[in-house]
Subunit: 138 residues, 2 copies
């Protein structure tokens, strides 16, 4: 078991359960983003679908994972950096989705550029999603 699992759950005052340990481990191992369907497949019949939905929701609320917007009606989730906290995400990095293999990357070191909006718009968050071909697929 990945060493950070218990730590992360405790730090967020979440009870230690099989599903939370297993799902969190998936994120820690893969490093890339996961959709609900990925988790359901990988965990086989181990957990109920509903449990996966609730676990993902809890993790998002606690700032353990964040969502990545997409144009294909399938939200993906990825690990947050350690400094995200409950109700306070600040994963202001760029995301990349590969058109070929479908992999979604968190480009932690590419910060989102600042965009100047017309007066009257109050910005609270900027999401940048880049699509194209990833390293492995060329």
């Amino acid at each position: 078991m990945h060493p950070r699992i218990l730590d992360t759950l405790k730090r967020n005052q979440l009870s230690i359960t099989d599903s939370r340990k297993k799902i969190l481990e998936m994120f820690l191992q893969r490093k890339g983003a996961l959709a609900h369907a990925d988790i359901e497949q990988q965990s086989g019949e181990e957990f109920d679908r509903v449990t996966i939905y609730r676990t993902l929701q809890t993790f998002v609320e606690k700032g353990i994972i964040h969502t990545i917007p997409s144009a294909d009606n399938s939200v993906r989730y990825a690990l947050c950096k350690d400094d995200c906290s409950e109700g306070h995400h600040h994963d202001n990095h760029v995301h990349f989705m590969c058109d070929q293999c479908g992999t979604t990357y968190c480009l932690d070191h590419v910060t989102v550029p600042s965009v100047a909006l017309p007066v009257g718009f109050l910005v609270s968050q900027v999401d940048v999603v880049v699509s194209g071909t990833c390293l492995k697929c060329q």
Copy 2:
């Protein structure tokens, strides 16, 4: 009926049907973005759900509308500028989603900044979605 409707459909070699005329009119009138659900509601029982799905898909393929990614599992659609063509979108403007009223704006005059990715990533499209509070909601 909006003057551009017949023009747009003909230019894209689409047969003139009631659903296409009506749905295109919605986009021309509202100017903002529409989700599938919005169209279904606004058109009442006039068209079958399936027809709306297929019409939106056709319009996207022809470059009449474009999709706007979101993190809430509900893709929105908005009119393309006239210079989009079949399989060749270039709506490289920023989108804004209001947290309060839910309205999605195409900020046609705010172009997406260029992002420098690590070597190995081949960029084909950049989507910038800003969220916050819009003009009307402050």
